[in-house]
């Protein structure tokens, strides 16, 4: 089985993330880049399947600028993926979801796959839509936001907890799934993995190699303005001297936050 795992580089959420207010784009240089944690969990799903079925190839796929991405992606290889494919092209700067989905779809077809696994949402852009878009573009079956996953030769099944219900479902392969952070943490790369990663195939493709010509007429989502919210300041802080509960109640009452007993 061939599994493609979609990896995403994001600014580390432990640092401050900044937007360029002129372009509405992430300031990549301002924050430490890391693999999005959820995409590491997606990779963990693929790697644990390969432990059960040695006849599995795990390919990392990412789209993004040249800069730090190759080094960031190496971590995925060190964790155990077999090879990596990085699509980069200056024309992709500021690409919206539709263009990104088109590019990933073309690259995934170039690689070939039985299953594509992605995170259900990224920490930098809400997200959660890309796996669904790919499902549609491929014309295959998909399952979004799985909190458990079972993979066998012909099908993938799993469970999904939505806001209103929860269900178990399965799809026939080929297919696309996205996983939530209910899935196990990813393994850490060990020394052997880190050494091995240096020799693993790492393919870099541009749009021409994928046969993509950006159509200027296509509908795109464009940023029309970006503004920074004023930062929040700390207010009152007290040490509990035995009456803190009463003081909070007083603060709530002053701010009209205690409602009458209506119900």
């Amino acid at each position: 089985m061939k599994i493609i795992v979609l990896m995403k580089e994001v600014p580390d959420t432990y640092g401050e993330r900044t937007l360029d207010l002129e372009t509405g784009l992430l300031n990549r240089s301002a924050s430490e880049p890391v693999l999005d944690e959820i995409t590491e969990r997606a990779l963990e799903v693929a790697l644990s399947h390969r432990e059960k079925d040695a006849n599995t190839e795990v390919v990392l796929l990412t789209v993004g600028p040249a800069g730090t991405l190759p080094a960031t992606l190496r971590k995925g290889l060190a964790m155990g993926a077999d090879r990596a494919v990085h699509v980069q092209d200056p024309a992709l700067l500021g690409a919206d979801l539709s263009l990104t989905a088109q590019v990933i779809a073309a690259a995934a077809k170039h690689i070939g796959f039985d299953l594509v696994i992605a995170g259900n949402a990224s920490t930098d852009g809400g997200g959660g839509a890309l796996p669904s878009m790919l499902t549609e573009l491929f014309g295959v079956a998909g399952l979004a936001s799985l909190s458990t996953v079972a993979i066998d030769e012909l099908t993938v099944s799993g469970s999904c907890n939505t806001e209103f219900d929860s269900y178990e479902a399965s799809i026939d392969l080929p297919g696309v799934i996205s996983v939530t952070e209910a899935l196990p943490d990813a393994r850490f790369p060990n020394f052997k993995g880190i050494m091995a990663a240096k020799k693993k195939p790492f393919e870099t493709l541009d749009l021409a190699q994928l046969g993509i010509v950006i159509d200027q007429e296509t509908a795109r989502s464009i940023v029309i303005s970006a503004a920074q919210r004023p930062a929040r300041n700390a207010g009152i802080r007290i040490e509990d001297a035995g009456d803190a509960g009463d003081q909070i109640a007083e603060f709530l009452a002053q701010n009209q936050l205690i409602k009458g007993r209506s119900a």
């Binding site: 809400g126 802080r237 701010n255 936050l257």
Partner: protein
């Protein structure tokens, strides 16, 4: 033939397998009606069109399209995408709006890919200017406000649940059955199903005016009754940190933060939560924040309007008693 106004906003509302409207329809229709004429679309089992039409008109839908299908209960998303495509073809909407829920987002994303439309995710509001519909987003934990629009064609927008207070006036009922040609796109098979929509008397976390959240400091699932007691005294909803979810104290659906629910209530109370940046990302635009934590250096104090350095197990019971006393 009926016509649809040029400013139609097509709104996909969610319906349970038995044909009941899910919460969230009023918010979606209210937002749509604030910028145009709301055309609500619902999928439902046969026999529900009239009733749903009346309910959706009462929420402000100028027109209602119902796709009655027996597949509704057994499918995940494909019939909804097919219905969106069929509805968009007759309505020619200026924008398409769904909830940013798991199903709503799945349907919106697939419809955008199928129709080649621009997609704006997780909006916290919509408006219009001379050139058309604009989606407003609150990004990086609310640190930035970003507006987006489509370069051409209808913008497909998913609206963050509980982010918009706009509600529309009732409209006269105007319901049509929508014939939908099945695309035949491969679909998942549901093998087990359970309703989880809370039979709780507490408000839903998303959109609640008051949220009381508990973290690892609670120490156990049983101790979460402390959080519940305070929430009930204030008529609030319950939230949690990821550490509390990971430790199994509460369900994942209660997680507030970067990878959980984003809330912006009038009042947010954090109990035994350190205030990691990823937690703050989901609550720092709350109007008033109160924190109780025994560590004076906990980062939650940096954004709290009222912080108490103290033990939740002594402060909270006193607080609950004082609230009851003030309410009389």
């Amino acid at each position: 033939m009926i016509g649809y106004p040029a400013n139609s906003i097509l709104v996909l509302v969610e319906v349970s397998p038995s044909g009941q409207l899910r919460s969230g329809a009023a918010e979606l229709i209210g937002a749509a009606a604030s910028v145009g004429s709301a055309v609500a679309l619902a999928l439902a089992p046969t026999g529900n069109a009239e009733r749903l039409g009346t309910e959706l008109a009462a929420l402000g839908a100028a027109q209602v399209l119902i796709s009655e299908t027996e597949e509704h209960a057994s499918s995940v998303v494909v019939p909804a995408v097919d219905a969106l495509a069929a509805a968009a073809a007759v309505v020619a909407p200026e924008a398409v709006l769904t909830a940013n829920s798991i199903r709503g987002r799945d349907a919106a994303a697939r419809f955008a890919a199928r129709s080649g439309s621009a997609l704006a995710l997780d909006a916290v509001g919509i408006s219009r200017d001379e050139e058309g519909i604009i989606a407003h987003h609150s990004v990086y934990g609310g640190a930035y406000l970003v507006d987006s629009a489509a370069s051409t064609g209808a913008l497909v927008i998913t609206l963050r649940q509980g982010s918009s207070d706009l509600r529309s006036e009732a409209q006269p009922s105007n319901v049509q059955q929508l014939p939908v040609a099945a695309s035949g796109a491969p679909e998942a098979t549901i093998t087990a199903y359970r309703e989880t929509a809370a039979a709780s008397s507490r408000p839903e976390l998303r959109g609640a005016d008051i949220v009381v959240s508990g973290g690892r400091g609670l120490g156990s699932g049983e101790n979460f009754s402390l959080v519940e007691g305070l929430a009930d005294a204030l008529g609030g909803a319950i939230g949690a940190s990821r550490a509390a979810v990971d430790a199994g104290y509460v369900a994942q659906t209660m997680q507030v933060g970067q990878t959980g629910v984003t809330v912006a209530p009038q009042l947010y109370i954090a109990l035994g939560i350190s205030g990691a940046i990823q937690h703050r990302a989901g609550m720092q635009t709350s109007k008033t924040i109160i924190a109780i934590n025994k560590d004076p250096d906990a980062p939650i104090f940096d954004i709290a309007d009222f912080g108490v350095v103290g033990d939740i197990f002594t402060v909270v019971p006193q607080l609950v008693a004082a609230i009851e006393a003030k309410r009389g």
